[in-house]
Symmetry: C2
Subunit: 333 residues, 2 copies
């Protein structure tokens, strides 16, 4: 295992120390339990947004804490659900009196732990709502998941709901918006290579020298098929066709196209993916009016990409464009 | 070779098509020859900033074209110098009457071609100055370079000089500033793995299963030594010690610390590197007052990192903080 780490047991702790040292202007890092909190939390009168999940997907979620996005993130160990006490601590830390929204990716451990944390927070007088993101069209039920997995739409929901919360919309409104993003977002990913969880010390799965996995999960969960590597033109069609047919996305629709690196795929390849996706969608009369291209929801050093589409309307577009100031996404400020 | 590409011969062309499709709000992509130009170029009365080099280092340089940074970038084929006609086209496209600065990484092909382009531009009445960046302390002379290589300080020079040009400083002032960034910036990198140039189809070099290369160049040029993988605490010391001793950086200095991924190293590891670097510098009385952490000057999918330090003063800090709106760096707008 070749990684820029010290002891594998200290990976999350030391990465969080790095986040704390680098971004003290925007976030605080609490320990025991680990929570990344917006520096000025709780913001009085604003709905607090909390997300979280296993580490290894950076910048999601800790890198999205700050003005215009999340109020707190709960980082679990690598590819391991955070604990209810992390989620409870995060919820209490960001409660500014207007309630707290939990944005939960659909993995069974995350869902159960966030439910438990919500119950505990409610019993302490904090109003909590939760929205479960399940945008991955690759498979129904998976290694850690009943139903569809939650992936790229989570990033978009965090940004869009974060902007709505800054406008002081109510908890019910922000939760509705989050459900709307989930309802209008669809994703699918693929892997060229595996990744290695530091504590495991060996690759999560094995792929042959010219083999790829279509529909991979962000923890290496099995996808739809393993097949020979193909030109990216064909790969994009394999990812985008199930996405656009699922909702469906129709001619005349405007979308945000999010082309994501799984961590080890460089930007030059992502732009080729984007080019193919743009042609694919143009051919169906779908127009990309906003985009996000880069490593935002990763799987350690896995090579591969995922595509997320979000059907846009004027309101979602305006919320996407609103200012954001996090270590991982920043504009307008 | 596993890559998200079509024909290896079309990698740069198709990636540029992706850039054009994604970022038409900020850049135009010219073809024959290939140049990425700020959408509103030439900006009248502003010094035009041009950089360029081989592709494969994205987002550098094309991703740094836009308000507050470069006016144009010349992308060569992967790891191949752009041609003088690209540089001439870029120079003419961004000449707003205040002259053009060429920011050139010290690789012999780049330097010679930029010199030729400057001569041609001058003969057409465009005033050109050039600054060669040579911040890499790893080795003196290298595979493609007489003297030191130019690496991470280039990104910082492009940002800082871009801000100065927006303030309508003169060509002489912006060129002086660029030399000042180069004089106060030092870098060193390392690799955990090689990378594969698409047209070559096989890794540029080979490293053993537990071997790393300290002082690697961004095209895989040899560094100082190959050695066994070590804890990142030690790796950071191997990179940072030659950097701080070279200038030298002294107790009481404030620096911008730039922790860069070579392309395939994920953010969670970069933050561990940052944490170690912060401790290393604190121990010497050097304070990090600004930072940049992520993949900004990459070597395709190479795993590894580089560290760049820039000694800051109030002026450089203010220019770093000034608004920028490029696909690769964006804030304040």
């Amino acid at each position: 295992m070749k990684k820029l780490i010290n002891d594998p047991a200290d990976v999350v702790k030391e990465a969080l120390q790095g986040v704390a040292a680098a971004h003290a202007d925007r976030v605080r890092v609490l320990t025991e339990p680990n929570v990344v909190v917006r520096a000025d939390a709780p913001v009085q009168g604003k709905v607090g947004l909390v997300s979280g999940g296993g580490s290894g997907h950076e910048p999601m979620h800790g890198g999205f804490v700050g003005m215009g996005m999340l109020d707190a993130a709960c980082p679990g160990e690598v590819f391991t659900s955070p604990t209810p006490d992390q989620m409870l601590a995060a919820t209490k830390a960001v409660d500014g009196g207007a309630g707290v929204l939990h944005i939960v990716k659909n993995y069974t451990g995350d869902v159960l732990n966030f439910e438990m944390a919500a119950d505990l927070a409610s019993s302490e007088g904090v109003e909590v709502q939760a929205v479960v993101i399940n945008d991955d069209v690759a498979v129904q039920d998976s290694l850690y998941t009943a139903g569809r997995r939650g992936v790229g739409a989570t990033v978009l929901a965090e940004k869009i709901c974060g902007a709505a919360a800054e406008q002081r919309r109510s908890l019910a409104e922000v939760a509705d918006l989050c459900r709307r993003v989930n309802a209008n977002g669809r994703s699918m990913g693929m892997a060229l290579t595996s990744c290695t969880v530091p504590a495991a010390g060996k690759p999560t799965f094995e792929l042959g020298a010219s083999e790829v996995e279509i529909g991979i999960g962000i923890h290496g969960e099995p996808g739809r098929e393993r097949r020979e590597l193909a030109p990216v033109h064909d790969i994009v069609s394999m990812l985008a066709t199930p996405i656009v047919e699922d909702l469906p996305y129709n001619s005349g629709d405007s979308v945000l196209a999010f082309v994501n690196s799984m961590g080890g795929t460089p930007l030059i390849e992502l732009y080729i993916v984007y080019n193919e996706l743009n042609k694919f969608l143009s051919g169906r009369g779908i127009t990309i009016t906003r985009n996000l291209i880069g490593p935002y929801i990763t799987s350690l050093e896995m090579q591969g990409c995922s595509i997320t589409l979000l059907k846009l309307d004027d309101e979602l577009t305006a919320l996407w464009d609103a200012p954001v100031n996090t270590p991982g996404l920043r504009w307008g400020v």
